[in-house]
Structures are given as structure tokens and as C-alpha cells.
Symmetry: C2
Subunit: 414 residues, 2 copies
């Protein structure tokens, strides 16, 4: 089936919104204070929303962990009863302007990045990186160590970055992301340069923060640059603020979100409303950390493919050859896969460029018609969770064709 | 002619010294206080040393500018008379453990990075980047603006970095350089990531420097990261400390320095003593900044090819695809040229890797026999100076075959 004339025009509008968005970090604040609709008894998690009883494995553990961290229950059993009875509420991040990394747990007290789309006025939120321990709440683990780390983030890191951000009058994120693509990042599985560039922006403010203890600043610097991941949450919040601006354009067949829960994969399409088009899990090619095996791989949710939705991550992998060592793969294969993705996107990004491709703009704006026609599936760079909880590797996944075929069928009906 | 068995063994020793060196920044101090042999009336400049009257054009202007800056003369004429009469002394950087960027002017009051080779005990020095103005003393310009900028460096930037470096107990440079190669730098014409990583090392100390005014710290941060070049002087000092450790090994045909003056190109070879083997100028492929033309290109000295001597710069260009935009060139051509250089080097660097080449170690240890045999000339990334002074572009140059043939002939005689 071919897209209509209306769809072509609507897709151009969606593409412009994807590429003209200017995401700016304006604050860091507790989710309960800034996220519309967030309440004290709500826990947000990744993926198209499911009834409580459908959450299983690590994602269920993570939601329960969130309730325990927030003091909404004293035991896992009490938390589970609370969600079953409706005293506690579990819901999907996306519908709150939030975006979840892996299980993506949000509770009211957790600090979030507040990213304002200066061009279109909407806001995206993302909570903060927990640190390099493979055991993290968003990987389905909750224990005393995880609690301490979440408290450390909330009490030391978030207020320090928040104060610096306000002192600077906001930090535009697109210039950082544009430069980071020239420095080996693809802004999903690798954010090394972006984290350094973001630190660089903060430091003049850090020097002036007379009310912030120096050890808080030191701790913040440390977590900002200890590995490849800190900036991912900013890349995700920027991508959410960008993609949401392109959602809701009548007739547009451009994808505005891709994510998954423990149970299924889902996409949202600009012209097909807020409902999720659900399908089976993505197919995965992983490189596991030493000592782990494929039968340990677990799905526990993930919304970081919002980065691919705006032309980053797997859609910019030829900017990030160092990822070959982390998630497996071969530089030439990374180039070939990246180039293939131009066949399913609306256009080339005017701001995000790939040096090895002679600064060609990244393939941006996934068109469900082109995916269905070509059979080329969107490729995403992701972290791999283990059944026992924690990160056990990284790899690439392909979104399932079923979602795109279903989207095309919906257009046929209208 | 084939190298002898002794030469093969000596080259392995030279290669080990090139690759096992551990350069550590230990201090920043005025050249007159730390550089052995440096005197108040000496000006050091780049290239195999020449008699005063042989310096011409921008390099002569730069040497005179150094004398004026240091207060050794009141006018250019008085300075020229001083050098002619012997009251003032001009000499080559290399023989003082120093390494010159472009004209490479050193005077006694100028601050230098002090880089200690922890493995072999020798020290390399490099003076500091003047900032992003195309008009700089090391590009042959001396006026009130240049004087102010040199004073700014000496009074604000150097003491701040020096104090932080001492507080940290020294900063190992190889780990920074290793990481920077994974982030789009080749550590000659592009040092963007290395400058950020170096800043990141300094910042915890910056936060504690209670005796340093905050505006000095802010100014230092600004110049550290304003463009792609700050770390080059550290890369050069590290390379000098590394290459010197590999010099003086009997029978070794490994190159330990490549540099040029306004008049000629020169190389030093590990087993051929301290004399320079001189030849004609390198051949150049340049991309000029807007508004400049090829007939403006001027040779005014340069010793930054010490980076290529240890396996960086042109020998790591496939790590730095963003350079295509700056100095001209095509990503695939950069790969091909980089790979070709393995044919003239002793081995693959165990620490400096190129992600696009599946983390292959950079070609390291240029062997004059291999250059003469293959006809493949060492390739260097350099900044291009204009006849009127200042930087007018950037590009790649090839060392002249004459130097390598002359070196092989010297081995034949011994």
C-alpha cells in the first residue's frame, strides 16, 4: 500500500518538528513536583501500559522496588497487594511526558531532568542515571545498596546539577549532542563525549555554587564521567521532548515512540493517536559481559529507543565505532546497517551528522510505510538485562515487523 | 639495502622504548627555571638549527618577536643586531628537550609543561597554546594583542594549571591520549576530546585551589576547551619525552624526530647520533581557510611531527574522521593512507588504537629502511601558516624521501 498525498505532506511536517525542536535542560526537580499527573502513590514503568498482574520478572521486581524506595509499602508482598488492590498505581512513563531507561522506574520523590522544547513549548522528563554498578533499580534490583545509591543521587547529584542548571539559565542540549556525534557517541549506548561536554557546561557554575558543599560537587563530577552512560538520560529526555512535538499530526505515518515492556514491543505513530500498536518482542544480537550466557537474557522494559526515533542510537551507529567492543559487531557492518536505515526514514537530519559518512545527516523519521515496504526493521542499541536482575551485556535489537504492518493496516482503514 | 641483524634487534629495543614510555605532566614552570641550558638571552625556535642569518620570513619575525616579548631588545632592528652580534642567542628547541609548535618560540619567562617519562627518567617540555586567534607568536606575528595574550597565558593560565597539577601529584598523559583516540582525536590537528579529558582531570583540583582567583580558573577552563588545540602542546611534550627515550640506540634505524625550519626538513634517527639529516621541504596538501590562496603558504618551522614519530597524528588519522572537514580529505582516503603507513613502521602500538580498524594499534616506529624500500613517505597533519603571518589553513604533508635515503646511506657507511 502506498501512502496518500496527505500522508506525504503530514510526514514532512512531522520531520520538520523532529528536526527543528530545540531541547533545553531547564531544571532538575522531584518528579512529584513537576511531572503533570504524578501522584505520591504512583510508580511509572516502561512500555505500553499493562494491568498490574501482567508485569513479571525483573520489571515486576523493579516496580515493587520503586514502591519500597518511596516508602509506599514495607515489604514486597505489601507492595504487590497495594498494586493489586488499586491503593498503589502503576502506569506507563510515556503518558506522563517521562521516558524510562530499562524498567524505567519513577516515584514522586525521584529527581528528574526537565527538558523544555523551546521551539514547540512541550516538556520531556527523564530520571537520573544510578551509576555504574550493574545492580540498579532500573535493571530490576532493589536492595540496601540500590537504595543508598538512589538516595545519593537524590541528595547530592540532583541538587548540584539543578542548582548549576538554574544558575546558567538552562543548558541547550542539541549543541552538545551535535558535537558528541563527532566524538564517537551515538547518544544511546555511548554518551562518553556528551557527558564530558555536559560537565564542561556545568563547571563554571560549579565554581560559583557557594551553598553547595564541595564534596557534593566532587561526587557529581565523578558520577557524570565515570562511564559511558550519564548523558543518556539527557539524550532520552531531549528525544522525548523532540518526538512528542511531532506526535498527533493527522495522516502522518512517522513513528513518534518505540518501547517495550516485559510482555511486548510497541510503537506510536504520529497520525494514529495515542494508542500503542503492540507486537512481539524485538529480536536481539547481544554481547554479554564475561560469565553470562544467552539464556539469562530478560526483557524488563525499555523506552530508550526514543533516541532512535529521532535519528540517534542505532540510526547513528557509524558515528560510534568504539561500540563494536562493547556490544559486539564490526565497523564495516555498523556502516552498512546505518546506511540501510536511510531506506526507511523520511529525511536526513540537518543537525546530527556522521563524520564517516562525509557528515551525512542521520536517517531521521521512521516511516511505517517504508518499513513495511522494504522489510528493513529499525535497529536499536540497548543494554541487556539478566533474569537475576542487573545488566549482563549490551547489543542491538530490531523492532518487530508486526507493529509496522499493523500501523499500515490502520491507515488502510481510515 | 637490507638492515643488519643488529639493526633489527636495535629497532625492537627502540620500539619498546617508544611504546613503554609513560609520560606524566608533573609541573608547569617558566622555561628559564626548568629547561637545562636555557638562559635569559636565548630564544629557541623550531627545526634543525640554522645560523641567524638563515632564518627568514615568518620564522625570523617570530624569533625577533620572542626577543621583544622577553624585553631583550626594544625594536626589531635592535633584536636582529643582537642575534647577529651574538649578544642574543637563537637555537633549536629539540636540543633543549623542548618541542616547537610552528615557529615554536621559547624565551626564559615563558611557562612550559614539564612532562616526565616515568619509565626512562627523561623529561620533555612544551610551551603553551596561545589561544584561537589566528595571529600568534608561533605563527610569526608579534604585536600588542599577541603580547597581551602571552601575558594572559603566563599570568593566569599557566599558574592555575601548574597549581592543579602539583595538587594532583602529576597527571598521567597516556591514559588521556589512549581514550582520546576513541573519541575522534588523532592528537595532532585534533585534540578536542583530549582537552576535555585533561580538563576533567584538573577540575577536582580547581575546586580546591583557594589561593587562585576564580576568574583565573574560569579563564583557564575557557582556553582549555575553546577549540581543538589546547592539548596539542601536551601531546607534543609527551611525544618528545617518549621519542627521546628511544634515541641513541646503536644500529637502530627508527626515526626519533621529524621537524622543519623555514629552510629545510630534518630527521633524527636513533642509531645515527644527534646530527640532523636534512632535506628539502615536505610536500603539502592543504585546505585553506576562506579568503586565502595557495601562494600565501609559508614555511616558518614546525616540530609537531614528533606526534607522528610516536604513532599519532597522520599515523592515527583513521581515528579522527572529523578532520576531513578541517584539513580536507575523504574518510576512505584517510583510512587508506593510514593503513599504508603500516608498511614503513616497526610495529603496532599496544596502547594507541584505531576503532575503525577494529582497534588495531597505530603504526609506530618509522624505519628509514622501510621508507626507502617502499617509497611510502611519512604523512603528517599540520597547521598551515601564511606569508603575512598567522594560520591560514590546515592540511597533510609528506616528509621528503631525501632524508630517508641519506639515512640509509649513512648506515651503509658504518
Amino acid at each position: 500500500m502506498n501512502p496518500s498525498t496527505e500522508t506525504k505532506a503530514a510526514n514532512q511536517e512531522a520531520f520538520e518538528r523532529l528536526t527543528k525542536s530545540e531541547p533545553v535542560l531547564i531544571d532538575v526537580a522531584p518528579a512529584g513536583d513537576v511531572v503533570p499527573g504524578m501522584t505520591e502513590n504512583t510508580v511509572l514503568t516502561s512500555g505500553p501500559p499493562l494491568p498490574w498482574e501482567a508485569y513479571e520478572g525483573g520489571q515486576r521486581d523493579a516496580v515493587i522496588g520503586g514502591a519500597l524506595f518511596e516508602g509506599l509499602a514495607k515489604t514486597a508482598e505489601e507492595a504487590a497487594e497495594g498494586f493489586a488492590s488499586g491503593r498503589l498505581k502503576v502506569d506507563g512513563c510515556h503518558d506522563y511526558g517521562c521516558i524510562g531507561s530499562l524498567a524505567g522506574i519513577y516515584t514522586a520523590s525521584m529527581p528528574v531532568f526537565v527538558v523544555h522544547n523551546e521551539t514547540y513549548g512541550n516538556v520531556g522528563y527523564c530520571n537520573m542515571y544510578e551509576g555504574k554498578s550493574p545492580k540498579r533499580l532500573n535493571y530490576g534490583v532493589y536492595d540496601e545498596d540500590v537504595r543508598e545509591q538512589l538516595t545519593f543521587i537524590a541528595e547530592r547529584v540532583a541538587p548540584t546539577i539543578g542548582a548549576a542548571t538554574r544558575a546558567l539559565g538552562g543548558i541547550p542540549l542539541k549543541p552538545i549532542m551535535t558535537r558528541a556525534l563527532h566524538m564517537g557517541d551515538e547518544l544511546h549506548s555511548r554518551n562518553t563525549a556528551a557527558s564530558l561536554l555536559f560537565s564542561r557546561e556545568l563547571i563554571p557554575a560549579f565554581l560559583e555554587l557557594d551553598d553547595t558543599p564541595r564534596d557534593h560537587v566532587r561526587d557529581t563530577l565523578e558520577i557524570l564521567t565515570e562511564d559511558h552512560y550519564f548523558f543518556l538520560r539527557l539524550s532520552m529526555a531531549a528525544a522525548k521532548a523532540t518526538a512528542d512535538a511531532a506526535h498527533g499530526i493527522e495522516h502522518s505515518s512517522i513513528v513518534t515512540a518505540m518501547c517495550f515492556s516485559c510482555a511486548e514491543f510497541g510503537i506510536r505513530v504520529s497520525g494514529l493517536g495515542d494508542d500503542w500498536i503492540r507486537g512481539p518482542h524485538a529480536s536481539v544480537q547481544a554481547k554479554l559481559f564475561d560469565g553470562h550466557t544467552e539464556d539469562e537474557i530478560a526483557w524488563m522494559g525499555g523506552e530508550s529507543p526514543i533516541t532512535e526515533t529521532i535519528g540517534l542510537g542505532g540510526f547513528a551507529q557509524a558515528a560510534a565505532f568504539p561500540l563494536q567492543a562493547y556490544q559486539g559487531g564490526d565497523p564495516q557492518a555498523m556502516v552498512d546497517r546505518n546506511v540501510e536505515l536511510y531506506s526507511i526514514t523520511h529525511g536526513e537530519n540537518p543537525d546530527y551528522h556522521i563524520p564517516f559518512l562525509k557528515y551525512r545527516g542521520t536517517p531521521t523519521g521512521i516511516d511505517v510505510f517504508k518499513v513495511a515496504d522494504t522489510g528493513v526493521l529499525p535497529m536499536m542499541d540497548i543494554g541487556i538485562a539478566g533474569k537475576g536482575g542487573g545488566q549482563i551485556g549490551a547489543g542491538t535489537v530490531r523492532a518487530p515487523m508486526e507493529c509496522f504492518q499493523a500501523a499500515v493496516a490502520k491507515f488502510a482503514k481510515t
